[in-house]
């Protein structure tokens, strides 16, 4: 009964497969093993291990880099759910280190200070899957053509303001809808305008959806924000500063998980939104001095 085939790791199917498993879930930013346990107890489907949440990176300034491996190991040991970690845009050595540490997903993230102003990481060179941010469909397709297995709309991390996430989701999904209406000649123009590979644009015209799961990040602070992202068409949500910068993280985390599952049921959303204490304060876009979403090429 010996199998004739090869045992293959790191294939596109295996890498995209983990993204499929995270759908309908909430991925939470955590900076300590204790926070990771709170996240898992609340029902997070994965955690993002980092040294500072985006709100603090924004406040402190300076260069934001990959987290200390010791800190990542501590979080890995604390939970049984998948652990993600961030590498700087283009910093393929940080990604190599994260892969060696056995993280389950690498986020090539604009929240960290970019290491390369022209190139993203060649993500096909890795066994570990990558998620990348995107503000529009062209950016999403360029990341997919480099091997990203999950796209998250960027939003504006660390603001507690959902407006940019909504803009990016609407841009990506709106263009997908428009492409399905285009005729074959118009697809050449779409590829040119999006600065995206033509075959990927043609594939979207056929299937009506992105090649990889589309999640939402950047600005989710309440259960209603999470449900808004899901109703707009995101398939899961990342919550960064929104949980551990609120007055009472554990119940808020649980409420956001329940809102993400029941995102179309306003009665349940009303129930889980009650008595959660103060959300993170948040900032208006006019007061944002540095837009992380503009990082990435």
């Amino acid at each position: 009964m010996a199998s004739s085939s090869e045992h293959l790791t790191g294939t596109v199917r295996v890498k995209r497969g983990l993204a499929e498993m995270l759908k309908g879930g909430v991925i939470m930013d955590v900076v300590t093993p204790e926070q990771a346990r709170v996240a898992e107890d609340a029902g997070a489907c994965a955690v993002m291990a980092l040294e500072r949440v985006p709100a603090d990176i924004r406040k402190d300034g300076g260069v934001a880099r990959m987290s200390d491996p010791e800190m990542i190991e501590g979080i890995k040991a604390a939970v049984t759910i998948p652990v993600m970690a961030k590498a700087r845009i283009g910093h393929f050595v940080e990604a190599q280190i994260l892969e060696a540490l056995g993280v389950d997903f690498v986020d090539e993230s604009e929240v960290l200070t970019p290491a390369d102003e022209a190139h993203h990481i060649d993500k096909f060179a890795f066994t570990v899957p990558f998620v990348c941010g995107a503000t529009n469909l062209g950016e999403a397709l360029r990341r997919i053509s480099e091997g990203a297995c999950m796209i998250r709309s960027k939003g504006e991390a660390g603001t507690g303001n959902i407006v940019e996430a909504v803009r990016h989701l609407r841009s990506i999904l709106g263009d997908i809808r428009r492409i399905t209406q285009a005729d074959s000649a118009e697809l050449f123009d779409w590829a040119k305008r999006l600065q995206a590979p033509l075959p990927l644009v043609q594939e979207i015209a056929q299937t009506g959806k992105l090649q990889v799961p589309l999640f939402c990040a950047g600005g989710i602070a309440t259960p209603a924000d999470a449900a808004l992202a899901m109703q707009l068409g995101a398939e899961a949500v990342f919550v960064g500063s929104g949980i551990f910068k609120s007055s009472d993280p554990a119940p808020r985390a649980k409420a956001i998980v329940e809102a993400t599952t029941n995102f179309r049921d306003a009665h349940i959303l009303a129930k889980v939104s009650r008595g959660l204490g103060a959300p993170m304060t948040g900032i208006g876009m006019d007061a944002v001095n540095e837009r992380y979403a503009e990082r990435g090429w």
């Binding site: 009964m1 199998s3 004739s4 085939s5 090869e6 045992h7 293959l8 790791t9 790191g10 294939t11 199917r13 295996v14 497969g17 983990l18 499929e20 498993m21 995270l22 759908k23 309908g24 879930g25 898992e40 029902g43 997070a44 489907c45 994965a46 049984t80 759910i81 998948p82 892969e99 056995g102 993280v103 389950d104 997903f105 066994t127 570990v128 899957p129 398939e235 649980k254 998980v257 329940e258 599952t261 029941n262 049921d265 349940i268």
Partner: protein
């Protein structure tokens, strides 16, 4: 007869299952609340994070009514995390994680390692070779007397059946092969005629 198959949709890869079920001509119903369970002829428990799904089963109030239906003989197909939920005990799980116990197996979570160890490989089944996609997959470590092993990989059981419950450690919903869903609907659940198409006949 319009066959309705509930797909547990609290978290995980439920959409991929729904698409295959619809392709096979049955109605897939997303199950997020107890009220959604009315009138389903069978259930699918998809892959996802088993701990997260277990918590959401409790917070949505689904755990008890779904457990009752499964123990009352509702046909069910679980993949990966779904297999963990159907088993009788969980090794390396969280203390607060529960399972339905409709298949007498002990299942170890993430038994093959982390995501970099996730793999695809052929699985030998009683109806021929099947390409298995294993994502942070569970491993069946003990098999009860009443459990039939229908498929194995490297000598270990990866596809098991007990009565009307079927479970796979891998993800047939990701490999574009509908044979296992057909097998479930026809042979295990008895909901659709046995030979619904050519591939089913070959089984």
């Amino acid at each position: 007869m319009n066959v309705r198959v509930g797909v547990l949709a609290v978290q995980g890869a439920f959409l991929a299952h729904s698409e295959i079920l619809e392709e096979l001509g049955v109605t897939a119903v997303e199950i997020r609340q107890p009220a959604h369970l009315g009138g389903v002829d069978a259930m699918v428990l998809p892959g996802g994070e088993s701990g997260t799904m277990s918590k959401l089963l409790v917070s949505t109030g689904l755990y008890e009514p779904l457990g009752k239906l499964l123990h009352g003989g509702l046909p069910v197909f679980g993949t990966c995390a779904g297999m963990i939920l159907l088993g009788s005990s969980i090794l390396d799980g969280r203390d607060d994680q529960s399972c339905f116990g409709v298949i007498d197996i002990a299942v170890r979570r993430n038994a093959y390692g982390r995501q970099v160890d996730s793999f695809e490989d052929d699985v030998d089944t009683t109806f021929g070779q099947f390409h298995g996609v294993f994502i942070r997959a569970p491993r069946v470590e003990e098999v009860g007397r009443d459990v039939e092993v229908l498929g194995s990989h490297d000598g270990e059981p990866v596809l098991v059946r007990q009565g009307v419950a079927l479970a796979a450690a891998f993800h047939p919903e990701l490999s574009g092969d509908t044979r296992l869903h057909e097998f479930f609907l026809s042979h295990v659940a008895g909901l659709v005629p046995v030979a619904i198409n050519q591939t089913a006949k070959e089984m």
